[in-house]
Every structure is written in structure tokens, then in C-alpha cells.
């Protein structure tokens, strides 16, 4: 909300600089988002028109030089000798008479009239003044220089609003009110500072000048001076001409109205127009301006009906106002000309014939105030904020009134707004106010009382604030307070401490946000802390005992896996959890039937490619690989994160998956020879073995498998204890091509981390190291091609027994000597006993056992 300080000063005196007011409001929860200076200079920091460079926080605007920009008095407008589009103004700047050149169209009507009967007051800039260039878009600073225009010397000018930084208007020069004293620095007459205050939902009561003034009063200790809500009523009573029927008091707790007869529609006075413009509202006419002005001033939005239109609709009967929710399919033409279909939660102000306006949101076209209007029915009502909010959203009709109503306006504000507006209309529009106010108030707002024990204040804030100070703070916000002894707390000594006192508090009738009981206490404590000042509350270390410490084993497992993967040279990526089914289907080769996945779908996706929650982490990592394909020939990526799977319960399962993608040469290019062979299946397998062994997962195995995403002969499932954790291998070349790696081997793995968790032990045993020498020997065996190496190794271990310490495959040979359809495997074996030196006989026996098993069970042939 825009708060011109010149307006605010009407309700509270303060002599603090604007920046200090802004800071106090900000620290008290009314954040000042920017400070706009109109003509005045900030106390610190920088705005346009001042020397210096560093822009101050949040500050913008143009400072008017007090010497060079003053009020001028134009007393004659003469034609320019050489130019039809220019005039010469005779101007008195308080010192002397100048001839000022201007092309402003709004001065042309005065041309050649001789000395003006009513001189014009203008903003006059002397040579050297810093102004905005009126002819350039935006705010471009320029210095006024002496020059000759069409043979006439010009060294000064009459300014437009744009040139002064007041508005974007450059249609003509600004005409000041007649009371402006010539020669006065313009900054003194017109200067202002506008605070742009952010109104949080809990501060709805402060979305008005009186509200902000109340806060300033509480924060500065200066007295609040609210406007008078009294009005002079002399007209005919309204009661017999108007009936109010409220059908849903829960949506419309109060409806008040007053009638003004014989109003003269015209422009509102300059001071009101100026205040409205500075607060961000466009002046229209006195009646509309007054409803807006009073809304900005008191927070109560008002609506003005053309009374004669209402009376005409009632065809001679008393006007009956009915407030009710809309009927199915009901429509209204609003004053913006749009025909709107209404929802059943929308509340309408109607008469017997139909809807007149959307309550609290927008008036109807038929009964709006026009230039010809003479009699006005002024409405001030209270509406349920939730219903207004829904209507605003459904009709997409945000407005200043809806902003306030949708955050809550207290029903007590109605009469204040009504009285203030009626009196302004009477004094500024010349109307006669009906002798009575029609006030229908079926649902009275409860008076909120809260008992606040002083020890509660200390319990929550951790600081002792004297009861008198607490009461003073609350009273400064218009709470009514009474200090009482807390019942049954008087001590034996008879002495009363602050802790024995309770404040009995009654909330003022502009607040809807104060609860009762313990919630009400918290609401009050917030007010106390806010006004007392957060900065004054000390920093005190927690005195409570440390709760039982637990740790988070699940997270620790994930972080351990991350560390291992990073140690193995992989880059972690984190990707969007939102995706599209077709993006995930891309991990299958084209034409392949994609297994149907059930997705968690968004009801309101922001972009189509992020409309479901992902089911595959691998797809996301592959997307990352694709995005980096043009920038690198080599990558090793992993992501460990959740996928989202329907679970049959309201919330999906969120199992964690691990995905790895590997591509490109093993080593990067170097000035020395490096291993530039592309990473293959076994590089990836080595990484997985490294991670699994690093996590101390017992004996993982790999088994050939088929998966449509992978190369049919280069794909394995990863098994631990009989559970398949996932799949790994070389991606199908058509899949690699889909992810921008055509012609390259793309290796990928996908593991369900949840299935791995049961095998992640907190403790694992470490074996002692044998003191006795090992026996080392090589063993080469020829087996059929289809015998997996893993089986050969298992056979060696099972037949050799525990004494076989290690089995290292160091060569695989295929060729003539192995025979066609065979392969020769060469192993380095280590035998070692924990408790003795192995003799050659024993070693020979082990070897014999192994050979027998390999030859007998696997039809192998051991080279002797």
C-alpha cells in the first residue's frame, strides 16, 4: 500500500525523518518495500537530482533543488513572434518577472487575453535545475540550459508532472492550486515522501492510513488523531424508502446505508486528487473519489448507487435491498461492461428484480453513479472474507476494495466509513444527508476478551517486560487493558510479583485477528514483542535439556553411497522431480512398447513437460547426459533421489533410486599417452562393485538379463541375497541416440536403493591378518564359452575351501589353443591358513580338489 507521508501526518504527528519511520515500520512487521521521494531529498542514500553515486536502499525519485524549482505565477500568455506552437508566458517567480517559453497545449487557451484575471500558478524551473526530460521515455535526467528557441532566448521553463517526476503526464504543464505562494520552493509546497508498505495477511487492519498512523503512533509514542466520523444529517429519513433483507448473515454480517440528495457531481478538490494519485488511485469525480478516499483512509470500502435507478427499478415501491448468494447460472453486467456468470458462493447485492452488484467486489452497470446522478445511496457493509476471496479469484477481479474485504474488515468499520464519506460528500458535493442511517446487523462481531497472565509473556518471550509497559504497548494499539491479580496466586508473604498479575484485555473493534484463550494470548504477545522491539529482546541460550539424540540412519546410508560414488570419480547431479511420461518413455528404443507406468499427476501443471512426478531417476540423468553431450566427450554422472509411485494410499510411495550414466574415454586427453578406450560394461560394473563393497553389501552377483532399454547381450541384473536390486549395462544404441550420444557406448545402471537398505549393516566384521606365509600359484582352465566366469570362480572357492584367500582372474584367452567354442581363463590363486604354514602336500591337495571340481562339474580342462 502506498502511504504518502503528507497524508499520514493528518492522523499522527511525527518529526522523525521518513527513513526512520520506514525502518520502524519495517521492523514492526510492516515492511516498507520502497520509498518514493517527490521533490524532497532523502536523509541518507541517493536519488535522482542529487550529487553522489551510491543509490540508497529502496529509494527512488527526483529531488527538487529548493533554489531552482519554485512556485511561479503566470499573469499573461503572449503569442510567440515566430512560432504558432509556442507561447510566451509572463511569469513572476517571487523575485522578478520573466518571459518563459512553452509549448504546453493547456496554456494556449490563455493566449492573447491580456493580463489574466485569475493568474495561473505553475512549477517554475530556473536555469541549471535538474529535471527529467519530458520528451524521452522513462526518467532521463537533464539539466535546464540557456538556449535560443526560434529567436527567443530561453533560460527557464514551466514544468510538466513528468519533468518533475510526479507522474508520466507530459500532455501539458502542471497547474497548481491558486493558493500556491509564488516564489516558495516547490519542494515545500508539493514535496512528499511515499512509503510503499507490504501488507501481510495478518496486517489487513492496517491497509489504510489510520491503521498505518496507529502503528506509527505506537512506535513513536505520538498521539493518534483519527478523523471525525460525525456528519450533519438534515434530510428526509431513509427508513421508509429502503428495506434491507440479508439472506445469509454468515456471508453478510452487517449492511448499512445512507442517502444523499441533491449532490453535485464534479471533480474532487485538488488536495484529494493529489492524495489519491499519490496513493496510486486515479481521480474520477467527487463521489467516486470520496468512496476511494474514505476506503484508503479508514479501510472501509464503500459503494455508491444511483438512487434514482434503484427507485425506478422498484417502480414506486420502497427499494428493497436483498443480499444473497447467486443462483445457478445467474449473471450480472458489471460496471466494466462485462457480463459475468456467477458461482453459487458469490454474494450479491440485489433488489427484487435481480442483482445490483457483486458484493464487495464490483458494482453493476445499471445502478452506477453517472455524471447526471443527483441522489446517492451509499453502502458500507461487512462481508465474509473467504467468500469474497473466492469470488475475486473466480472472477479474476482484484481491486482495492476486494483486497481489503478478502482479508477481513471489521463490521464496526461500516459506520465509520459511512459517516466519514457522507460528511465529505455533503461538504464537497453539496448533498443533504438523510436523517437516519439504515443499519442491519444480524451477526454481531463478538467483543474479544483475553486474560493475559504476565508470566505467559515471560514464558514465551524469555524477557521481563514490566506490566505497565505491556499495558502501555497494548493501549497504544487501542486495546483496553486492566491489570488484575492472577486469582489464587497471592503469595504467603503477601507480596505481589509481576508474575502474579494478569492483564485483562479487550481487543479494539477494528481487529478480527485476535483469538481467545491461549491463541489470543499468543496474538497479544506478538503485538507486545513487535512494538517493544525484537532488537530489545536479549539473545539467551536454550536452557531446556537436550532431547534424546537419534540420528537419521536412512539419510546416513544415502550420504555414504554418495561419498563412495564421488570417490569413484562420479559427478552428482540433482534433477527435476517433475517430468512428462513421454520423457521417461524415451529410455526405450523407438517402436518398443513402453511398460505402462502409473504416474502421480499434477492437477495444475505449469508447463506440459513437467506435468507428472517422475517414476525413473535414470531418465532424468540421461536427460542431463543429453544436455551435456555437445560440451564433453566424457561423463560419469549419478543421482540418488526419490521416485513417486502410486501406493494405493492417498500419498504415493517415494522410494529412493540410484541411477548412474557413464560414457566416453576412460581417461581424458593428455600430453602423454592416456587410456582413450571408451568406458565399457566392465568400467560400470567396477563402479557398482566398488560402491557395493564400500557399503559392505555381502557378495553381490551379476546375472545376464534382458531389458528392452539395454543392449541385449550387455545387460545384467544386480543381485544381493537373491534380491534383484536393479539392472546395469550398455544402453541400447537407439536409446543412446535418443539422448544425443549416437555412435557412443552409453553405460547405465538403475538400482532400487530401498532394496539395498536391509543389507547395509551398521557394523561389519574385519578379519585378522594371517601371520603365516601364503602359497601362490597360477591355474589356467579351458571351459566352454557359455560357462560364466562367476561360476568358475565360485567353483574354485567352493572346492578349494576357506583356505583359498583370493582368486584373481588375470587373463581371458580365446583362440586356437583353447579350441573353438572355448575360452581359457588364467587365475592367480592364493592359499593361506590363519594358523599354520601350508606344506606343499596340502597345497597340492587343494589344487587337486579344485581341478577335479572344474573338470568334473564344469567340463573344464586345466592346463598342467
Amino acid at each position: 500500500m502506498k502511504v504518502p507521508l503528507s497524508w499520514l501526518k493528518e492522523y499522527v504527528d511525527f518529526d522523525l525523518p521518513p527513513e526512520e519511520i520506514a525502518s520502524r515500520l519495517t521492523f514492526a512487521g510492516l515492511e516498507v518495500e520502497s520509498i518514493e521521494y517527490i521533490g524532497l531529498a532523502p536523509q541518507n542514500g541517493h536519488i535522482d537530482g542529487l550529487p553522489g553515486e551510491e543509490r540508497g536502499p529502496k529509494a527512488r525519485g527526483l529531488a527538487w533543488d529548493r533554489e531552482k524549482i519554485v512556485v511561479g505565477r503566470v499573469f499573461e500568455v503572449l503569442p510567440h513572434p515566430n512560432a504558432d506552437r509556442l507561447v510566451l508566458c509572463k511569469l513572476d517567480d517571487g523575485r522578478t518577472i520573466h518571459t518563459v517559453l512553452t509549448g504546453a497545449p493547456n496554456l494556449f487557451p490563455y493566449k492573447g487575453q491580456g493580463p489574466l484575471a485569475k493568474p495561473l500558478k505553475v512549477a517554475y524551473a530556473r536555469e541549471g535545475a535538474m529535471l527529467y526530460d519530458g520528451h524521452q521515455p522513462g526518467n532521463v535526467l537533464t539539466t535546464l540550459q540557456r538556449m535560443k528557441i526560434r529567436g527567443v532566448e530561453s533560460y527557464s521553463m514551466i514544468c510538466s508532472e513528468k519533468e518533475l517526476g510526479i507522474s508520466a503526464d507530459h500532455e501539458g504543464v502542471m497547474i497548481l492550486p491558486d493558493d500556491a505562494p509564488a516564489g516558495t520552493p516547490l519542494a515545500d509546497y508539493l514535496g512528499d515522501v511515499i512509503l510503499d508498505v507490504k501488507i501481510n495477511p495478518n496486517m489487513a487492519r492496517n491497509a489504510n492510513m489510520v491503521g498505518i498512523a496507529r502503528e506509527v503512533s505506537a512506535l513513536t509514542g505520538r498521539k493518534l488523531r483519527p478523523p471525525s466520523y460525525l456528519f450533519r444529517a438534515s434530510g428526509e429519513p431513509l427508513k421508509k424508502h429502503l428495506r434491507i433483507r440479508i439472506q445469509n448473515p454468515e456471508f453478510n454480517p452487517r449492511f448499512t446505508a445512507i442517502l444523499l440528495r441533491d449532490v453535485q457531481i464534479g471533480p474532487s478538490p485538488a488536495w484529494m486528487q493529489r492524495r489519491l494519485s499519490r496513493a496510486g488511485m486515479r481521480p474520477i469525480n467527487n463521489i467516486v473519489d470520496i468512496t476511494n478516499y474514505v476506503m484508503l483512509e479508514t479501510g472501509q470500502p464503500l459503494h455508491a448507487f444511483d438512487w434514482d435507478s434503484l427507485a425506478a427499478r422498484a417502480s414506486g415501491n420502497a427499494v428493497t435491498i436483498i443480499t444473497r448468494t447467486a443462483r445457478p447460472g445467474e449473471t450480472i453486467v458489471t460496471l466494466d461492461g462485462a457480463t459475468r456468470t456467477l458461482d453459487d458462493f458469490t454474494v450479491l447485492v440485489c433488489d427484487e428484480k435481480g442483482p445490483l452488484s457483486i458484493a464487495g467486489v464490483m458494482g453493476g452497470a445499471e445502478t452506477e453513479v453517472r455524471d447526471t446522478t443527483v441522489n446517492i445511496l451509499l453502502e458500507a457493509a461487512a462481508w465474509d472474507y473467504l467468500s469474497i476471496r473466492r469470488t475475486v479469484q473466480a472472477q479474476k477481479l482484484p481491486s482495492e476494495a476486494a483486497f481489503r474485504f478478502s482479508r477481513g474488515v471489521h463490521p464496526a468499520a461500516t459506520l465509520r466509513g459511512l459517516g466519514r464519506a457522507a460528511e465529505l460528500m455533503r461538504t464537497l458535493g453539496g448533498g443533504i444527508i438523510s436523517r437516519d442511517t439504515v443499519d442491519t446487523y444480524p451477526r454481531k462481531a463478538p467483543v474479544v476478551r483475553v486474560d493475559l497472565p504476565m508470566k505467559e509473556v515471560r514464558r514465551l518471550l524469555g524477557v521481563n517486560i514490566p506490566p505497565r509497559k505491556v499495558a502501555q504497548i497494548l493501549e497504544s494499539l487501542e486495546f483496553v487493558c486492566r491489570v488484575k491479580e492472577t486469582p489464587a496466586r497471592r503469595r504467603r508473604s503477601g507480596k505481589i510479583s509481576d508474575d502474579d498479575l494478569t492483564l485483562q484485555v479487550i481487543a479494539p473493534d477494528h481487529r478480527l485477528d485476535i483469538g481467545t484463550g491461549v491463541v489470543g494470548q499468543a496474538d497479544l504477545i506478538e503485538e507486545i514483542a513487535r512494538i517493544y522491539g525484537y532488537a530489545r529482546i536479549p539473545e539467551v541460550q536454550i536452557a531446556d535439556l537436550l532431547p534424546i539424540q537419534r540420528g537419521n540412519p536412512g539419510l546416513e546410508q544415502e550420504e555414504a553411497a554418495r561419498d563412495l560414488l564421488v570417490n569413484l570419480g562420479l559427478q552428482e547431479v540433482l534433477t527435476y522431480h517433475l517430468t512428462a511420461p513421454e520423457k521417461e518413455a524415451a529410455v526405450y528404443p523407438p517402436g518398443m512398447e513402453v511398460p505402462a507406468a502409473e504416474y502421480i499427476r499434477l492437477a495444475n501443471p505449469i508447463v506440459p513437460e513437467r506435468r507428472v512426478m517422475r517414476c525413473s531417476v535414470l531418465a532424468s540423468v540421461l536427460e542431463t547426459a543429453a544436455r551435456n553431450a555437445s560440451r564433453t566427450d566424457r561423463l560419469a554422472l549419478f543421482e540418488l533421489g526419490p521416485v513417486y509411485l502410486p501406493s494405493g494410499k492417498p500419498l504415493p510411495a517415494e522410494p529412493v533410486q540410484l541411477a548412474i550414466v557413464l560414457a566416453g574415454p576412460r581417461e581424458s586427453r593428455d600430453w602423454r599417452p592416456s587410456d582413450r578406450t571408451p568406458a565399457d560394461f566392465f568400467d560400470l560394473k567396477g563402479i557398482l562393485e566398488g560402491v557395493l563393497s564400500g557399503l559392505h553389501v555381502p557378495s553381490p552377483t551379476f546375472e545376464s538379463t534382458r531389458d528392452p532399454r539395454f543392449h541385449p547381450g550387455r545387460c545384467a541384473k544386480i543381485l544381493v541375497g537373491g534380491t534383484a536390486l536393479g539392472v546395469m549395462g550398455q544402453l541400447h544404441p537407439q536409446v543412446a541416440a535418443r539422448f544425443e550420444w549416437a555412435g557412443h557406448d552409453l553405460l547405465a545402471a538403475e538400482l532400487n536403493f530401498e532394496l539395498l537398505r536391509p543389507y547395509l549393516l551398521r557394523q561389519y566384521p574385519v578379519h585378522s591378518i594371517s601371520e603365516y606365509p601364503p602359497v601362490l600359484e597360477d591355474l589356467a582352465v579351458v571351459v566352454a564359452e557359455d560357462v560364466p566366469v562367476e561360476r568358475v570362480i565360485q567353483k574354485i572357492r567352493s572346492s578349494g575351501g576357506e583356505i583359498v584367500q583370493s582368486v584373481l582372474l588375470f587373463d581371458v584367452y580365446r583362440g586356437e589353443q583353447a579350441g573353438s567354442g572355448n575360452k581359457s581363463l588364467a587365475f592367480a590363486l592364493t592359499y593361506q591358513a590363519p594358523d599354520r604354514t601350508l606344506g606343499s602336500t596340502e597345497a597340492e591337495e587343494i589344487r587337486t580338489r579344485i581341478i577335479r571340481a572344474l573338470e568334473g562339474d564344469l567340463a573344464g580342462k586345466v592346463r598342467r
Binding site: Y385, E539, I542, N567, G569, Y576
Partner: protein
């Protein structure tokens, strides 16, 4: 004759000084200490000398021999050292050639900052508690004192799923309810990290997903003064010993009183710069005392227990610390970005 020995000694030592390589040294040894060297011959022929001269000649001859042998040993050492030195000289490298490029794995910047946050809070006794990313409306809003249609809901632009009442959590605060319901009435001190989602245009400043770390302490004597001290401690650990903090009143429906915590800008030291928009302060945390309704929804009696909660954005902190200007870098995963960490 003794003069002959003196001459021989001098000549030999002079010759040795000229020997500068192993070959010359071997030749010298052959010449002066070899079997047919004149000294050997002299010593072998001692017996032929008159008996009176023999002792003196023998003593002097052996003396010369020992001198030459010692000189030889020294010479050998000198020459070996020279040979080695020469060899080493020839092995000199251009030390400016690049080192062997090894593949270094890296954690994602979000993981790095999260771990730092975890570590600081762990030392302060705050354990990690996680809760689902896809949440019930109740947990994300209603139980946090944000009823349906309440204007406070405008503070969060929400992704809803097609399942009624199920949404993507907009903050980690629903974890507060989960944690409290699990531990009440025992006192509680946790942080709640995790991914959050907002219905927002993806721009340099806003993303549809981001991490949040929320903190929650509930106990019989937790105060606003405790909250200030705890967050000031965190700021010093996170941003440096001298980091100053300031506390501004703000509004969150689930805390009361609520506040925004600023840390003095560590880019300019509080003097004002574009990063802090010339205010000298950076907005880092939202926090407050847990609202009595939320405490009650969590299973604590608000008349007996009190608590504080706070929340921060790890990506925002990382952006401030590293001068990252575009939040889209985080999920863009351009290796040129990731490899800078």
C-alpha cells in the same frame, strides 16, 4: 730414494686431481696402485735395498701407498657424485607441464550446502527428520493454521495432484506436524530438510523446486530469546564469526510472533552493494515461535510446551555465498557449472 717417493706421491696426487671420470680414475689406479705400478715395484723390491735403508724406505713407501689409497677413495666418491649429478641434471623436467588429469567426483552444490547446514545443526543438537515430498493438504496447510481459502494461502503457489487433498509440499513445514506427532510429549529438536515445490514461472530468480531446511525445537521452556540466540549462533557458524544478525517482525501463519532474520551482507560487509540491494543486509531465514494451534495439532499442550521454528533455502544461501546469479543452474546440471565446486 726418499725423494723419489716424494716425487711419486706428488705426481700421483696431481694426476688424480686431473681424473674426472670413472675411466680416468681406473687408469690412474692402474698406473699408481696397480700391480706393475712403480710404487708396487718399489715396495716389492724393498728387500733388495741395503738393510739400513730398508726400515725408513718401507715406512715411507707404505705411507705413500696409504695416502694414495685414501686419495683414491676420495676421488672415487667425488667422481661418483659428479656422475650422479650429471645424470640427475639430464633428467630435469619442465615442471610447468600439466599434471595427469584424474577424474575427480563431486557432490552437487545443493548437497554440499545441505551437508554444511546439517553439520552445524547437528553440533547444536538438532537431528535430521525427513517427511514426504508429496503431502496431504492437511499437513501442508490446515494443521499449520492455514485453513482452506485462507488469504495466507496466497503466500504459497501450490501444485496440486489429481488426487483430492494431495499436493506437492510448498515448504518443509508439514514435517513439523509429522515430527511432533511422532515424538510428543517428549521434547524435540530437529531439522527438516527436503525438496519443496512451488507453482512459479522458472526464471533466474524462481524455480518450481528447491530445497528447504526447516528447524523445530519444542520443550517446556523454549523462548523467543532462545530463538534469537540459536539463529545468531547458526549465522556465525554459517557465515563467519563476525556475522551480525538483525530480526524483523514478519508473518507466517504457523508461528507467532514471527520474524525474518537478516545477516549482515558478507559481500560488502554491510556497506551496501548490488547483492544486498544496498541495504547492507541479506534475508536468510524466516522464523518464529510455534503457534499454539500448531503445537496442539502436533500433540503438545501449548500451555505447558512452547517451541520455535525456522526455515531457510539452501540454494539461496549457496547463491549468495558463491555469487550465483541464476537459480536455474542448480537443476540445469551443466557440467561447466557443477565442475566449479
Amino acid at each position: 730414494m726418499l725423494e723419489q717417493l716424494d716425487t711419486l706421491e706428488q705426481e700421483a696426487l696431481a694426476a688424480l686431481a686431473q681424473a674426472n671420470d670413472p675411466g680416468a680414475l681406473a687408469a690412474w689406479k692402474q698406473t699408481y696402485l696397480g700391480r706393475s705400478a712403480s710404487l708396487s715395484t718399489f715396495l716389492g723390491d724393498l728387500g733388495k735395498l741395503p738393510a739400513a735403508e730398508r726400515p725408513l724406505a718401507g715406512k715411507r713407501g707404505n705411507e705413500v701407498k696409504r695416502t694414495l689409497e685414501a686419495a683414491y677413495a676420495a676421488g672415487e666418491e667425488r667422481i661418483n657424485a659428479a656422475v650422479l649429478n650429471h645424470a640427475l641434471q639430464s633428467e630435469a623436467l619442465d615442471v610447468t607441464l600439466p599434471g595427469r588429469p584424474l577424474r575427480r567426483g563431486r557432490l552437487h552444490p545443493s548437497t554440499l550446502i545441505l551437508r554444511r547446514i546439517y553439520a552445524i545443526w547437528a553440533e547444536m543438537g538438532f537431528q535430521i527428520y525427513r517427511s514426504p515430498n508429496v503431502e496431504l493438504d492437511d499437513y501442508n496447510f490446515t494443521l499449520l493454521n492455514i485453513p482452506p481459502h485462507h488469504p495466507a494461502r496466497d503466500m504459497w503457489d501450490t501444485f496440486y495432484t489429481t488426487e483430492e487433498g494431495v499436493l506437492l509440499r510448498t515448504h518443509t513445514s508439514p514435517g513439523q506436524i509429522h515430527a511432533m506427532r511422532e515424538f510428543a510429549p517428549a521434547p524435540l529438536r530437529v531439522i527438516l530438510p527436503g525438496m519443496c515445490f512451488r507453482y512459479e514461472q522458472i526464471t533466474a530468480r524462481s524455480e518450481i523446486q528447491f530445497h528447504q531446511v526447516e528447524g523445530l525445537a519444542v520443550g517446556p521452556g523454549i523462548t523467543f530469546a532462545n530463538l534469537k540466540a540459536t539463529l545468531a549462533d547458526f549465522a556465525r557458524r554459517m557465515f563467519g564469526e563476525g556475522a551480525r544478525t538483525q530480526f524483523r517482525a514478519d508473518h507466517f501463519p504457523f508461528t507467532e510472533p514471527s520474524m525474518e532474520v537478516d545477516v549482515e551482507c558478507f559481500v560488502c560487509g554491510g556497506k551496501g552493494c548490488p547483492v544486498c540491494k544496498f541495504s547492507g543486509w541479506l534475508e536468510i531465514l524466516g522464523s518464529g515461535m510455534v503457534h499454539p494451534t500448531v503445537l496442539r495439532n502436533g500433540g503438545y499442550d501449548p500451555k505447558v510446551f512452547s517451541g520455535f521454528a525456522f526455515g531457510m533455502g539452501p540454494e539461496r544461501i549457496a547463491m549468495l555465498r558463491h555469487g550465483i546469479e541464476d537459480i536455474r543452474y542448480f537443476w540445469g546440471n551443466d557440467l561447466r557449472f557443477l565442475e566449479q565446486f
